[in-house]
C-alpha cells in the first residue's frame, strides 16, 4: 500500500488522477534481479528477446531492492534463504508486489513431503500478490501473471474505500 492510496474523497478529479497514476504504475513494474533456482531460467527467457517482458514495461530488472517494485520469487526457497527473502522484501520501497513463481514457491512443490529444508510456500515468509503455477512455468505463464498483477494495480484508487471509511468512523466516534 503506497502513501497516497485510499486517502481522498471520491470525485471527478480523483477518478481521472487514478487513471493516470495507475497507468504509470502498471506500465513500469520494475522487477528485482532475483533468481533462486530453475524457475529463474524461465524468468531470464521471459526477459530475453523472444518473449520480451519489456513489452509490458517490466523489463528493467533492477540489481537492488531499493529500485524495484516487484519481487519475482523464482525458485525453491529454503529456510536458510527465507530470512534473506524477507529482508529483501522489507528493503523494497512501497508500493511493492510479490509474485510466487513455480510450484516450490507456491507450496513447497516436489519438496513438500520430503524436503526438510524447503519452506512450504513463500507466502509463509512474505505476502504474495500473484501465484504463477508450473514447474517451471513457461514464459507465457509468467507474462500472464504479470498481466494479472497489472489488473490488480488497475483497480487501485486514491479514493477512500468503504472499509477505510468504516475504520475512520470507528476511530472518530471512539
Amino acid at each position: 500500500m503506497s502513501w497516497i492510496q485510499n486517502k481522498f474523497e471520491e470525485g471527478l478529479i480523483v477518478t481521472s488522477l487514478d487513471w493516470a497514476l495507475n497507468w504509470a504504475k502498471l506500465n513500469s513494474i520494475w522487477p528485482m534481479t532475483f533468481g533462486l533456482a530453475c524457475c529463474a531460467i524461465e524468468m531470464m527467457a521471459t526477459g530475453a528477446s523472444r518473449f520480451d517482458i519489456d513489452r509490458f514495461g517490466a523489463g528493467a530488472f533492477r540489481a537492488t531492492p531499493r529500485q524495484s517494485d516487484l519481487m519475482i520469487v523464482a525458485g525453491t526457497v529454503t529456510y536458510k534463504m527465507a530470512s534473506r527473502v524477507r529482508r529483501l522484501y522489507h528493503q523494497m520501497p512501497d508500493p511493492k508486489y510479490v509474485m510466487a513463481m513455480g510450484a516450490c514457491t507456491i507450496g513447497g512443490g516436489p519438496y513438500f513431503k520430503h524436503g526438510y529444508h524447503v519452506v512450504k510456500g513463500v507466502d509463509l515468509v512474505v505476502p504474495v500478490d500473484v501465484y504463477v503455477p508450473g514447474c517451471p512455468p513457461r514464459p507465457e505463464a509468467l507474462l500472464e501473471g504479470l498481466m494479472r498483477l497489472q489488473d490488480k494495480i488497475r483497480h487501485q484508487t486514491i479514493a477512500k474505500t468503504p472499509e477505510v471509511k468504516a475504520k475512520e468512523k470507528v476511530l472518530t466516534t471512539a
Binding site: 529456510y79 536458510k80 530470512s83 513431503k113 512450504k120 509463509l124 515468509v125 505476502p127
Partner: protein, 177 residues
C-alpha cells in the same frame, strides 16, 4: 593397478588396516579401519606405484540396522599416458571407512587431498560424523543453528524454523508475516 592388486598391496603394507575388500559388483572398494585411514591415505597418494592424486567424491551411507555410518571415498590416479598425451584416470578404487553412528570419529584427509575439506564438511553436516584434525569443521549447507543431521535415516523434519512453520502435513499453519 586393478582394485584387487591395490587391496593386496594395502594388505601387505599395513598389517590389520584392511578390514575387508569388496571386489564384486561395479564399485570395488577396500574397507579400512578408521584409526589407520590417514596413514593409508598418505600411502595411496605418495606410493610411486599408485600416485592416487584425485579424490573424486566422498559419499555417506547410514546403516541404521548395523548402527554404523560409512564414508565412501572415490579415488583415482590422474596423469598423462605419455609425454604430450591426454590425461587419463588409472588405479580406480573406493575406500570405505565405517564408524559407529553415535560418536563416530574419522581422521580427516583434508591435508592429503584438499578436495576432502568441503566433502568432509558436507558429511559432517548431513550425517554428523566428526572428522578429527579438520581445518574448519562447520556445517556447509544447512544454517549454523540447524538441529540434527538431515540424511540420517531417523532424522525428523523441523516443525518450525525461525518463526516459519514447517510441516509435512496438509493442515498448513496460517501465514505469519
Amino acid at each position: 593397478m586393478t582394485p584387487e592388486q591395490i587391496a593386496e598391496t594395502l594388505k601387505a603394507e599395513f598389517d590389520g588396516a584392511v578390514v575387508d575388500a569388496i571386489m564384486s559388483g561395479g564399485h570395488p572398494s577396500v574397507v579400512i579401519a578408521a584409526e589407520r585411514w590417514h596413514e593409508v591415505a598418505l600411502f595411496l597418494r605418495d606410493d610411486p606405484r599408485l600416485r592416487i592424486n584425485f579424490l573424486r567424491c566422498i559419499s555417506g551411507i547410514d546403516w541404521l540396522e548395523r548402527g554404523e555410518i560409512e564414508a565412501v571415498y572415490d579415488l583415482q590416479s590422474l596423469r598423462p599416458a605419455g609425454p604430450g598425451e591426454l590425461w587419463s584416470g588409472d588405479n580406480d578404487v573406493a575406500v570405505r571407512v565405517r564408524v559407529p553412528r553415535e560418536g563416530g570419529h574419522i581422521p580427516s584427509v583434508a591435508d592429503v587431498w584438499p578436495a576432502a575439506d568441503w566433502h568432509e564438511r558436507e558429511l559432517y553436516d548431513m550425517f554428523g560424523v566428526v572428522f578429527d584434525n579438520h581445518p574448519d569443521l562447520r556445517r556447509i549447507l544447512c544454517p549454523d543453528d540447524w538441529v540434527g543431521h538431515p540424511l540420517r535415516k531417523d532424522y525428523e523434519h523441523p516443525l518450525e524454523y525461525h518463526g516459519i512453520p514447517g510441516t509435512t502435513e496438509f493442515g498448513q499453519k496460517s501465514p505469519r508475516h
